[in-house]
């Protein structure tokens, strides 16, 4: 039988620095034969020049499509013949290469992973095809009413800041991206110094560290790193109402605010407010607008985790004729957070929910590795995992009211739905 090991032990990762600047976060979980490895690089949409929006996403689509040694099919055949998965994702503040496999296949796949990170060839034909499919994806994104609403909210909240754009970029920027752009982006951001790699598997950390060092330890960067961009945020001086008419059955209402960066002392309070408002079947919005009001099926709220001030969003979909009343009720719920101090029972309930559900979101090796690596690449350090929870426990009703008054002001409100329904709504 397996030795018993409490879950917290899997969360207790060791940090190790390689000489070339790679940070390794290593955890052992001998109870499953599954290994998860996630490599993080600073970059993502946040570092894209405005005219290159979508570049990081294109890199994610093409990175595994060829190395100096192997073409796309050879790479895929290697991964698939071992029943593993290898994925590249671009996010707002970083991009990430994830591997999941049966642990005994790790040394072999690690070779391939290193080759992909160090020597991608970005074949011209692959770049052209993925660029074309990205253009199609940008159009297809508009099929979802939520995306149409969210796009407008993001634009209103972020102006010239890259968070204004969808990760896919825009038709006019993606169309002109080139292989040279990818090579430049790769050499600037895909580099050992600053790279974070989180690995959780059944072997002891020392073993995994030695395996990684053997293939990535001699990787050195070609040029200088890019300076961190200084990104302006537009002032938000008054609420904005944005309407887009569409022949849909429901109206989608998205209410967005600009919250704090993850590094702010206010971050835990905004996370708890989002939990209170919109997380689960007992949340305030679910109970008031769905259970009691019958106004929606989907109603929720979230607050993102970002390096720069992150969006705080509440949204729902409602029958066209209910558009004005649903918006009014949603706004009233935000106003209530300004005007009324929540009871300590309400805050206690939200705290227990956040803490418990946070623990439940770390059930697999991949989930644990992903979160630790993400905190590390954001500059918060993997210890943020516990610091954050500690701060959530200390929050009081007054903290939440203060955070609501500071951040939940001057919303950008987007409505997507039938024209007649939208016409009835004014600020």
């Amino acid at each position: 039988m397996h030795p018993t090991l409490p879950t917290s032990q899997r969360g207790r990762l060791q940090r190790l620095h390689l000489a070339n600047g790679i940070t390794l976060l290593l955890g052992q979980n001998p109870t499953v034969e599954i290994l998860a490895a996630h490599c993080f690089f600073r970059g993502g949409s946040r570092v894209e020049q405005p005219q290159q929006a979508g570049l990081s996403h294109l890199l994610a689509a093409v990175l595994t499509k060829g190395t100096r040694q192997r073409n796309s099919q050879a790479i895929a055949a290697w991964v698939e013949s071992l029943g593993a998965s290898l994925s590249v994702d671009s996010a707002a503040d970083h991009f990430e290469v994830g591997l999941r496999c049966v642990a005994e296949d790790f040394p072999e796949l690690l070779q391939l992973l290193a080759e992909i990170l160090r020597d991608p060839s970005f074949p011209e034909a692959e770049v052209a095809r993925e660029r074309e499919l990205m253009l199609q994806a940008i159009r297809a994104q508009q099929e979802r009413p939520f995306n149409l609403a969210w796009d407008q909210v993001r634009q209103a909240l972020y102006g010239d800041h890259p968070y204004a754009l969808p990760g896919l970029g825009r038709l006019e920027t993606v169309g002109s991206l080139t292989r040279e752009d990818l090579l430049a982006y790769h050499s600037t951001y895909c580099r050992p110094e600053g790279m974070v790699m989180a690995v959780i598997g059944p072997e002891p950390p020392e073993t995994m560290a030695a395996q990684v060092e053997a293939v990535l330890g001699d990787w050195v960067s070609a040029g200088p790193p890019a300076p961190d961009p200084n990104l302006p945020l537009p002032p938000l001086e008054k609420p904005q109402l944005l309407k887009l008419s569409q022949p849909t059955q429901q109206t989608t209402i998205v209410l967005g605010f600009r919250g704090s960066p993850a590094s702010s002392a206010d971050y835990p309070a905004l996370k708890l407010l989002a939990t209170y408002l919109g997380s689960g079947l007992s949340s305030r919005l679910f109970v008031e607008l769905r259970e009691r009001g019958g106004l929606a099926y989907e109603v929720s709220a979230f607050f993102a985790t970002r390096r720069d001030p992150a969006p705080f969003v509440a949204y729902l979909g409602t029958a066209a004729e209910n558009t004005p009343v649903a918006l009014e009720r949603l706004q009233a719920e935000i106003q209530r957070l300004h005007d009324t101090l929540l009871s300590s029972e309400e805050v206690g309930m939200a705290q227990r929910k956040l803490l418990g559900q946070y623990a439940l979101s770390k059930q697999t090796n991949a989930q644990v590795a992903q979160l630790a690596g993400w905190y590390e690449i954001l500059g918060l350090g993997m210890e943020f995992d516990q610091q954050y929870l500690q701060r959530v426990r200390q929050l009081t009703p007054a903290h939440l009211q203060q955070a609501a008054k500071t951040y939940l002001v001057n919303p950008a409100i987007a409505l997507v739905g039938p024209e007649e329904a939208l016409a009835k709504v004014e600020l």
Binding site: T7, I34, A84, A319, G356
Partner: protein, 435 residues
């Protein structure tokens, strides 16, 4: 992996009441998941009460005589747990995940709500609005519309699988509190239910707990499965198209009726065939149509498993002008496979991918509970191991035979969603090319 993983649950019991209980301790977990499966869903619904299983699932969260609406949610989420439910054609299930230490205190809430749903009339009226919103939301979801169009076309209005599990506005209006209660009594009975508990649990204590909370006898008479017509088999190419104003890219689905779950060996072989054709970048269809030719933005292949007969389905998202050549190529590829068969390496790849996908999908207690409950409800949980063994046993020749037997290039179903050209109004047409 050189040896076959063993995925069967540690303990399976049948209580005197007929209730099946599956328990599986997971050494590392400090959470526990309870997943309650009921053998009813769309397939048991008479057409005039369409949507009753799903509506009842919503009403379960509205409490009982002893439980106020929303109290179940508060009890579980207030302890940091999560709970939810889902309804399909062949099943309805309710699940919760909590810290393992909270299991004894939270399980009674779930049992009370599921077994003794009160279904108060004023809550029925209120929740009807929510379900109507869910239907409107689905009507704005183009992926859902394509799927539903395929199901309607492949099964027809006479077969329950051809009808939406969500129901329709006009049938929802027929559902009274009395009807919902009668349906609940008829199906939510020990002999039709399975309770799965996984995670950081002690099997003996957990069995006693489940027996105490779920071990009671049924109330009132059982309902039995309505007879279901045989799965329709198209005599030719059955094509259904519809256009949509908000659609940017066409959606194409090609499907072939397959087998019921009694033919378990074929079900497993069809999974391999689907993986050979459409799982991963080196699979035949992804390689050719996405990677080489760039004619589709996405393509996939799946064997849809349903108790009374499934579908082998190829789905693609593409530009409308590429539709003719993509459909022709798909058929050509199928004929090629039927003539030339598949290679040993191709089969090995598919085997390995499916085996590992199953292994990965069973890593957390909540995933594992869902897997066990699903298998037990549809085919019996012991089939899980059999599935793994069968995956290893198939030969290339057998996979080719399955393709020959089920994927006729002359008789299949097509569901197609096209962007509305200029100002053409939404239209739907039905063609039957009889041979």
């Amino acid at each position: 992996m050189s040896r076959l993983p063993r995925l069967l649950p540690a303990y399976t019991h049948r209580l005197n009441s007929g209730l099946r209980v599956i328990l599986h301790p997971v050494p590392i977990a400090d959470s526990a998941t309870v997943d309650v499966w009921v053998q009813t869903g769309g397939r048991n619904e008479p057409p005039q009460w369409l949507g009753i299983s799903h509506f009842l699932e919503h009403m379960v969260f509205k409490g009982s005589e002893r439980l106020a609406p929303g109290e179940l949610d508060r009890a579980i989420e207030g302890r940091g747990g999560i709970t939810n439910a889902a309804t399909g054609q062949d099943y309805t299930h309710y699940y919760m995940t909590v810290a393992a230490a909270d299991l004894p205190e939270t399980l009674p809430y779930l049992a009370e709500a599921v077994l003794r749903a009160g279904i108060p009339p004023e809550e029925v009226e209120r929740e009807r609005q929510v379900v109507l919103e869910e239907i409107r939301r689905a009507a704005d979801d183009l992926g859902y519309i394509t799927y539903q169009l395929l199901m309607e076309t492949a099964y027809g209005e006479e077969h329950p699988y051809g009808r939406p599990v969500l129901g329709r506005p006009e049938t929802l209006r027929q559902l009274t509190p009395e009807l919902l209660r009668a349906y609940h009594r008829g199906w939510y009975r020990p002999e039709y239910m399975t309770v799965v508990v996984t995670g950081g649990i002690d099997p003996e204590q957990t069995l006693a707990l489940v027996e105490k909370e779920f071990g009671g006898p049924a109330r009132g008479p059982a309902w039995t499965r309505p007879p279901i017509p045989p799965q329709p088999r198209p005599q030719g190419i059955l094509r259904r198209e519809s256009t949509h104003a908000r659609l940017e890219q066409a959606r194409l689905k090609l499907a072939w009726p397959t087998v019921s779950l009694d033919a378990w060996e074929q079900v497993c072989g069809l999974e391999l065939l689907a993986a050979v054709l459409g799982d991963g970048r080196t699979s035949r269809l992804v390689h050719l149509l996405r990677e080489q030719r760039g004619w589709v933005r996405a393509i996939g292949c799946s064997s849809l498993v349903l108790k009374e007969g499934g579908l082998f389905c190829i789905s693609a998202q593409l530009e409308v002008e590429d539709l003719p050549r993509v459909e022709a190529t798909l058929l050509h590829e199928i004929e090629k496979l039927q003539q030339d068969g598949i290679g040993q390496a191709e089969l090995e790849r598919a085997r390995r991918m499916l085996t590992h996908e199953l292994l990965f999908s069973a890593e957390s207690p909540s995933q594992l509970a869902s897997l066990y409950g699903y298998y037990e409800t549809l085919v019996g949980v012991e089939r899980l191991q059999e599935y793994l063994e069968l995956l290893q046993a198939f030969t290339p020749a057998q996979i080719r035979e399955l393709a020959q037997q089920y994927l006729s290039p002359e008789a299949y179903v097509v569901a197609l969603l096209k962007p509305a050209a200029s100002n053409a109004a939404a239209a739907s047409e039905l063609q039957l090319a009889c041979r």
